[in-house]
């Protein structure tokens, strides 16, 4: 049962197309798990459509119609099936597209004993978009977010002082939030994280890493 959703503000910006690319990808991936938010976004799109139809039209000459008619025989560009699951894999097709494979085919970088990350290129120059893999029962060392962070649980789950999060849950953390997520016992946790500032470890044990934690946006 999904209990944690994007806020109304985030869903509205997503429906209007004004969320940054990497954040939009994370919201879209949540909607793969959450029909309720997919429906809300559908209605928010209807709001956009109502405004669109009510706008004062701008004159468009017949010359433009002629130009378009002349182009109707062009080959349409290739595109992937929208939102469709590929095979039995529950991983959203969008993420499969980005990963071009399954989680075992990603190259993982070890950060601590319990935490590995895999950076994904989205092309968004402002945000770092990664998969996090937390070993069962393992913890991400206490850290704060100087920027905002969006997290989507893909497998397993974790808990921190604010709550307990499972597959499909979407978490948005404001700058200045300090937390130390711990994965549930018995199951590794894989999640998606989108950040615009590097995290900063606040505990003594890992603080030394901070100067080396550069944001890898793009």
């Amino acid at each position: 049962m999904i209990k944690h959703h994007p806020t109304i503000d985030i869903l509205t910006e997503h429906a209007a197309g004004t969320l940054p690319l990497a954040q939009s990808a994370c919201v879209a991936a949540h909607m793969n798990y959450c029909e309720s938010c997919a429906r809300s976004v559908g209605q928010l799109q209807q709001v956009g459509a109502a405004l669109f139809c009510a706008a004062d039209p701008e004159p468009v000459g017949d010359a433009m119609l002629e130009r378009v008619l002349a182009r109707l025989d062009e080959e349409p560009p290739l595109s992937y099936a929208n939102g469709a699951r590929v095979g039995d894999d529950p991983t959203p097709a969008l993420l499969q597209r980005l990963m071009r494979g399954d989680f075992s085919e990603l190259s993982w970088k070890k950060v601590t004993e319990s935490l590995r990350t895999s950076l994904i290129r989205t092309g968004d120059p402002q945000f770092e978009f990664s998969f996090l893999h937390i070993a069962a029962g393992g913890e991400i060392p206490v850290h704060d977010h100087r920027g905002a962070e969006m997290t989507l649980i893909l497998e397993g789950g974790f808990s921190d002082q604010s709550g307990s999060y499972h597959q499909g849950d979407f978490i948005y953390r404001e700058p200045g939030n300090v937390h130390a997520p711990r994965a549930f016992e018995g199951e590794d946790c894989i999640c998606l994280a989108v950040i615009d500032q590097p995290i900063r470890f606040t505990g003594w044990k890992y603080r030394w890493m901070n100067p080396f934690m550069r944001l890898q946006a793009g």
Binding site: K3, I8, D9, E13, S24, A25, V27, V60, L72, T122
Partner: protein
């Protein structure tokens, strides 16, 4: 829903009247849904030209909104959107979406992609990858979807001007909440709450267990 102005059935069993066309299932569709179906089924250029004459001026207004795109980019956008409509019309299902929502979604996606191209994003993703997949909606939910589109259009007329203004900034001009706040010289919190109030008035539905339901 019987209509006194209905004329005799067409050969496909549907009925036409001045308000639109009733499909044999008894479901009423609007003129533009019918046109999209004609384009999708038969590559009907006359139907396409009719659709163009109605929607291209709206797409152009959308493209020019907020002055983020030049006149030539706006023209480019109009052509791109109309071509996409032609290419995708066979995928349009009048049971699942209103024609206007379908067209708007394509225009919005093309504009967002164009903004990103102009900012030189090098990405494997297109905005159409991010639309919710409504393919598996049950008929009851599809009915709710059609009703909500209708309801939203009706309720839009009763919104107070400052709420319409803020929705226009977000949807028509494509500004984020933060950008809208800067342009209107308002606190971000005020922008967010105006947007929420407007959406509440339009009766957009959200998951009831969430903690930020208005």
């Amino acid at each position: 829903m019987e209509d006194n102005n209905a004329s005799p059935p067409n050969s496909d069993g549907g009925k036409s009247d001045k308000n639109g066309w009733t499909a044999p299932t008894g479901r009423r569709t609007d003129e533009w849904s019918e046109t999209l179906v004609l384009i999708g089924a038969g590559e009907d250029r006359a139907a396409f030209s009719r659709l163009f004459r109605h929607f291209a001026p709206l797409i152009k207004a959308f493209a020019l909104s907020g002055s983020a795109l030049s006149a030539s980019h706006a023209d480019e956008l109009v052509q791109e959107v109309m071509l996409k409509i032609w290419q995708k019309a066979s995928a349009f299902d009048p049971e699942k979406a209103a024609a206007s929502t379908w067209v708007y979604t394509i225009a919005r996606n093309c504009r967002t992609d164009m903004f990103r191209r102009l900012q030189k994003f090098d990405t494997p993703l297109a905005t159409e990858d991010f639309s919710p997949d409504m393919e598996h909606e049950e008929p009851f939910m599809q009915l709710q979807t059609r009703r909500s589109a209708h309801r939203i259009q009706e309720l839009m007329r009763d919104l107070p001007p400052e709420q319409t203004q803020i929705l226009a900034k977000v949807y028509m001009e494509g500004k984020s909440h933060a950008e809208a706040a800067a342009e209107l010289d308002l606190p971000l919190g005020t922008v967010k709450s105006r947007v929420r109030l407007a959406i509440q008035k339009l009766q957009v539905q959200f998951e009831q267990t969430r903690d930020d339901v208005i």
